[in-house]
Every structure is written in C-alpha cells, then in structure tokens.
C-alpha cells in the first residue's frame, strides 16, 4: 500500500474471557497489512485508553461478549476524547443486540460488527473509514 500503515488497537474490555473473535480479527487485520496491537484480556477502559495513547493508534476495535457494551464502549470513547484522541475511530463487535446499536453510534462508536461479520467486511470498513496520521 502506498499510504502509511494504519495502526489499530484490538481491545478486550471487562472481565469477559471470550477472545476467539478478538484474536481472529487481530490476525485478519494484520494479514491485511495493518499494524495491530492486542491488549490481551480483562482490560479496564482506562487501560485501553492508555494503550491507545502509548501506541499512538488510528483506530480502536473493541470486542465484547459480556453484555457490558453500553457501559464500557462509550466510556472508552470519552477517555480517548479527554486525552486528545477524538479523531481515533472506535469500532466494535460481539454479542450486541441491534436495539443497542443506535445508543452506541450516538456515543461515538463508528461501527458495530455482529457475529457472522467477515474479516473482509471489517478490512473494507477500516480502509474506508480510518486514515493514518501524518
């Protein structure tokens, strides 16, 4: 790719240990040519925001299977904004009912991928919606 490499933080907030999706997506994004950093499990929103700053990422992909998405995802967006990373694209995926999507979009989450989403869909979305910093 001619453009600079997009850096993505794949994050696993909360106590939820279901990391199959996060790891598969992380590998898929890496194989698509992005730089990927994975937080590992059981991260607080504060730890995730800190990692986003330290790693100077362009996007944060949040995987959540525990039903705590309405609490944890908006909190991560808030923390990013507060530390001057308002332009970082936050997206997510997991067991997230459609009825909850509008509230997440309103809170600043840019896209939600539900089970069955392909790596190709996620890669395409990242290419269209995330710009590397200059």
């Amino acid at each position: 790719m001619a453009e600079g490499k997009i850096r993505i933080l794949v994050a696993k907030p909360g106590l939820d240990g279901h990391d199959r999706g996060a790891k598969v997506v992380a590998r898929g994004l890496r194989d698509a040519g992005f730089e990927v950093i994975y937080t590992g499990l059981h991260q607080t929103p504060e730890m995730i925001a800190r990692a986003a700053l330290d790693e100077d990422v362009d996007a944060v992909g949040i995987s959540i299977m525990s039903g705590a998405h309405l609490t944890l995802m908006p909190r991560i967006v808030e923390l990013l904004k507060a530390q001057g990373q308002a332009e970082v694209a936050v997206f997510g995926g997991g067991v997230i009912p459609e009825d909850d999507h509008p509230a997440l979009f309103k809170a600043g989450i840019k896209q939600v991928f539900t089970p069955g989403a392909s790596i190709a869909d996620i890669v395409t979305w990242v290419r269209q919606n995330v710009r590397p910093q200059v």
């Binding site: 898929g28 059981h42 009912p97 069955g116 392909s118």
Partner: protein, 543 residues
C-alpha cells in the same frame, strides 16, 4: 389412535415389565429390541453398552433405563430473577438445574469491585455471599434436584456457599447431587476466566476433590470440559485430545492430593460441545468413552468399573449460531442435539435461537427445551442403545478420531504433561490457529454457513431479545455493601485469616471456606485472599 388388532401382544403385557426392558415398537408396530449387535456377539473394541470399553455407551439399557437429563443453562440478573427462571424451567419439564454466573462472580470479584463495572448480572447471575445463594435456590429442594454450576476460578467459594444454602434448607452435604465445573486447565487453555495461576489453581481443585469425596459423595467435583476448547476454535479432534489430556491431569491431581484413584474417578464427569458435523460429533463421543476407559484401566489401574466410565454432559455449539436469519438456529440446535443423543450423552443443554444477540428470552429457552423433548418423545431415537453402532462409516470415523486424538495426547505426554503444555501455551496456540483457519475457510466459502455466506437475504427477521435492567448492578452493589455492614466484623476477619493460613499451610481449604461463608465473608474477599497469597494471573496476550 386406533390400535391394529395384529399389534404385537407385548403391548398388552407391558405393565408387567420394567420400562427398561419392555418391548417398544415403531410407529407401524414393528418390535424394537433394546440393542442390536452382530451375530456371534459384540466385537472387543466396541463392547456392548455398559461393557468395557464402553464405545457403545456407559449404561446397558441407555435411554430405555434412564433418559438423558435435560439441563438448561440459565442465569441472569439478581438471584431472585434467576430463581424465577429456574422455577419456570422445572415447571416445563426440565429435569436438572444448571447455573450460569456473571463474569464478576466467575472472576472472583464482588459487584462493587471497580473491575465489575457494567457486568453485574449481565452474563449470568450475580452471587457475592452465601445469602445470595440461599435466595438463588429459594423454594427449590436441593435434596431433590441435581444442580450443575458453571464456575471455575471461584468454584471453591461457590461450592462453600452452596453447602450453606443447602444447610439453610436442612439438607446435608452428603445428600447433594450435582456438578461444579471447576476445570481450570481449560480456563487457561480456552475460556480465560481465572483468579490465580495454573499450579495454585490445581491445588485448590485437589482440596475440593478430597473434600467432596469425603463429605459430598454424590457430587461431581469437576466437569472436564471440551466445550470451551471447541468454542474457542479447536477442531473436534483437538477438543477430544485436549479434554482427555486435561482429564489425565485431574487424575494426577487427585492422586497428588493423596486420594486412591477409585475413590474419586467415578465422580469425574465430562462436558463436550456438539457442533455441526453430525457424524464426526457422534464418533467423537464414542471415541472419548473408549479412550477414557482404557486410560483409567490400563494407565491408572483403576479397579472399579465405575472409574472407567466417561459420563458426559453435552451442549450444542453456541459458536455455530448465526445472527443472520436467527430462526434458522432452531434447526441447527435440533440437529446438534440429535447428534448428542445418538452419541450417547447423559445430559444435554440446547442453545436458544437468540444467543448471538443476548442471553435467551424465556420463550427462546422454552423452544430449546422443547427441541429435546421432541427428540426424546417423538422421534423414537431413544428406544435403542447406540443405534448407529456397527455402521461401517461410524465405526471407521470413531477409530480415526481415536487415533488422531491419541497422537496429540502422546505429544502432550512428551511435553511433560498437560500442566507443562498449558504453561508453554501449546493448546492455546493450536486452538488459535484452528480458529483462524476456520474463519478463512468460511470466507473462501469452503465452509458453508447458511444465511451468512450462502442463501443470504437483505432483510433480516428481527427477534425479541432479553434486556437486563441496569438497576441490577446498583441493587447487587447495595446488597453486598449492606451484607458487609451487617456482619460481625471480627468473626469475618478471623475467618479470612483462617483461609489465608490454610492457603499457606496446605490444609484443606473447603472447611475454612464454609466457615467464612457462614460468617458473611464475600466471594470477592475470599478470592482476594487467593490473589494475595498465590498471586494474580494475567493474560500473556499475543494473537
């Protein structure tokens, strides 16, 4: 229905015969034997049902003698809300209870722990005190029903609370029937809910095995689980191999705790996933029984035939369900459940059609239970033991599954055993690779997922989903804080110290945990003792 005058006379005399041996017939009235086998008797590698090596099932009469237990995994919100769901399921004909706990409970955190933020009661029921456990089983006689509890890292504390809940009903530990999952090896391998590291976790499990073998002889102190290994991405062969290797690890753990193999082996139970590949799943259960019987008899020299039995719970594959066209999930679950029954499971959970969105609604959970009842009572498949036994295809597939699994198990032995293998991340890496390969096969359309990569449709059918009220978290926080304020602080501190001492001295933890629960120590405090004495385990990361 009118009866043909030429219907077999066995019907007229069936009341004289036990359910297990009475003549059953097809819908056309053809007689059905309890078992079919080749002329000249059973092959040695198969045995008859109930005979070594149990390829054809663990009981002689299988479902004619004892139908499988229909056990629906349930839990959400407050103990009172889950209690209501339990009662509803029992009223609808469910035959055993199965408890889902929320993430904070599974990770040994109280509802007011900052790390529990947003997760209280969301993925299961929130239990922080023995009093919560009393409420969970309110009005359900624990000496009558068998209870399964899916909890691992904090299982020792939950078991202590369960003993106290029974005590509050006047039931002794010795009367309690059920299972606590308590399989930490598969947590490090796949499910990733932990408190402390691999070796201290195994020490705690050893204490629980010793305690239950003495005080709770009807209770299964561990359910050796392939389910999570499979859901995390393992193939069926890997699931089989890693699960049985874990089983070997627990036998070694029991021996290390000073127990005789026959004192605890009959109480080990298993839990497998049943995915889409119909015949492979059936072969997997048959191979599992045969491998385990030989391991127990030949490797560990168990004398008691009950020690050779691999008795298992099964659950349909949550990971196979799709968010797209969600009603299709009913068909997937039905076929997977049928495979579990044809494979000879002892107990079964059927997933609900809405699980890719949220915890199941009562209606969705009812459809899943009814699916089992249709298989049991309408299809007739339960009338004959191991009905597919002797099929050239099934027997060949069973042999191949066995051979492949044994190869992986031998590799683990060469690494020094499952504990070393897990510490080196071997099963974890293998599973990660399989998960990624499977996803790539889906994307290349080599694996068909109906509604996802074939037969897709633009408009989606919307289904109702269960919402957990946000005030559950606040309620549970208030409840645990009130419980801490109301207890005798000195007794609670003393009890926590006694648990700390037992952690350090190696004395059995269980009696100390029961005492601590009795004086109001919370789950988070008790697991906090584990964290401070043994150290907290952290995800090594990587992908």
């Amino acid at each position: 229905m009118s009866q043909s005058p030429r219907a077999p006379s066995v019907n007229a005399t069936s009341s004289h015969l036990s359910h297990a041996t009475k003549g059953l017939v097809t819908q056309s009235g053809l007689p059905l034997l309890p078992l079919y086998e080749p002329e000249g008797g059973a092959q040695a590698s198969l045995g008859r049902p109930g005979e070594f090596p149990f390829t054809r099932g663990v009981y002689e009469t299988m479902y004619r003698g004892r139908p499988w237990t229909m056990r629906m995994f349930a839990g959400f919100g407050t103990p009172a809300q889950t209690n209501a769901r339990f009662r509803a399921l029992l009223a609808k004909g469910q035959t055993g209870l199965s408890t889902a706990f929320d993430m904070p409970t599974l990770m040994g955190r109280d509802p007011d722990d900052p790390q529990a933020l947003g997760e209280v009661g969301r993925e299961g029921v929130a239990i922080a005190t023995a009093a919560d456990m009393v409420r969970l089983f309110d009005g359900i006689a624990l000496n009558q029903v068998s209870t399964s509890m899916t909890v691992n890292a904090s299982a020792s504390v939950v078991l202590a609370f369960y003993v106290l809940a029974a005590e509050a009903q006047g039931t002794k530990p010795a009367e309690l029937r059920g299972t606590i999952q308590n399989d930490m090896l598969k947590e490090f391998i796949a499910q990733k809910e932990w408190v402390t590291g691999v070796r201290p976790s195994l020490r705690i499990i050893g204490d629980m095995m010793a305690y239950t073998s003495r005080a709770m002889p009807l209770f299964h102190p561990i359910s050796i689980s392939g389910y999570h290994i499979r859901e995390a991405g393992a193939t069926a062969v890997q699931e089989l191999a890693f699960t049985l290797a874990d089983g070997i690890g627990y036998v070694q753990c029991g021996l290390a705790a000073g127990l005789e193999v026959d004192a605890f082996a009959p109480r080990l139970s298993f839990f497998f996933d049943i995915h889409n590949d119909f015949f492979e799943e059936i072969a997997k259960l048959r191979a599992a029984r045969r491998i385990w019987a030989r391991v127990m008899r030949e490797r560990f020299h168990a004398q008691e035939p009950k020690s050779w039995l691999l008795r298992t719970h099964c659950q349909t594959a949550g990971v196979s369900l799709t968010a797209q066209q969600p009603l299709n999930n009913v068909a997937r679950v039905a076929l997977q459940a049928l495979a579990a029954v044809l494979g000879g499971t002892q107990s079964l959970h059927t997933n609900s059609l809405d699980e890719t969105y949220a915890l199941p609604t009562e209606e969705a959970a009812t459809v899943a239970l009814r699916t089992q009842q249709i298989i049991a009572d309408e299809t007739g498949v339960a009338k004959v033991a191991d009905p597919l036994g002797g099929s050239w295809f099934i027997e060949s597939l069973t042999d191949q599954m066995e051979a492949q699994a044994l190869r992986i198990m031998a590799h683990i032995d060469q690494m020094g055993g499952i504990v070393e293998a897990v510490e080196q991340g071997y099963p974890q890496r293998e599973i990660g690779n399989s998960a990624y390969e499977f996803q790539k096969r889906i994307e290349r359309q080599e694996e068909v997922v109906v509604g996802v990569n074939r037969y897709t449709q633009a408009e989606q059918s919307r289904i109702p989903t269960l919402a957990i009220a946000p005030d559950v978290e606040r309620e549970q926080i208030e409840r645990v804080r009130a419980a801490r304020a109301a207890r005798n602080a000195e007794s609670a501190n003393k009890a926590l110290e006694a648990v700390r001492d037992a952690c350090q001295s190696g004395e059995n933890l269980m009696p100390r945990l029961v005492e601590a629960g009795r004086v109001g120590c919370t789950l988070g405090e008790l697991c906090g003792v584990y964290r401070s004495v043994f150290g907290e385990y952290r995800d090594p990361g990587g992908f």
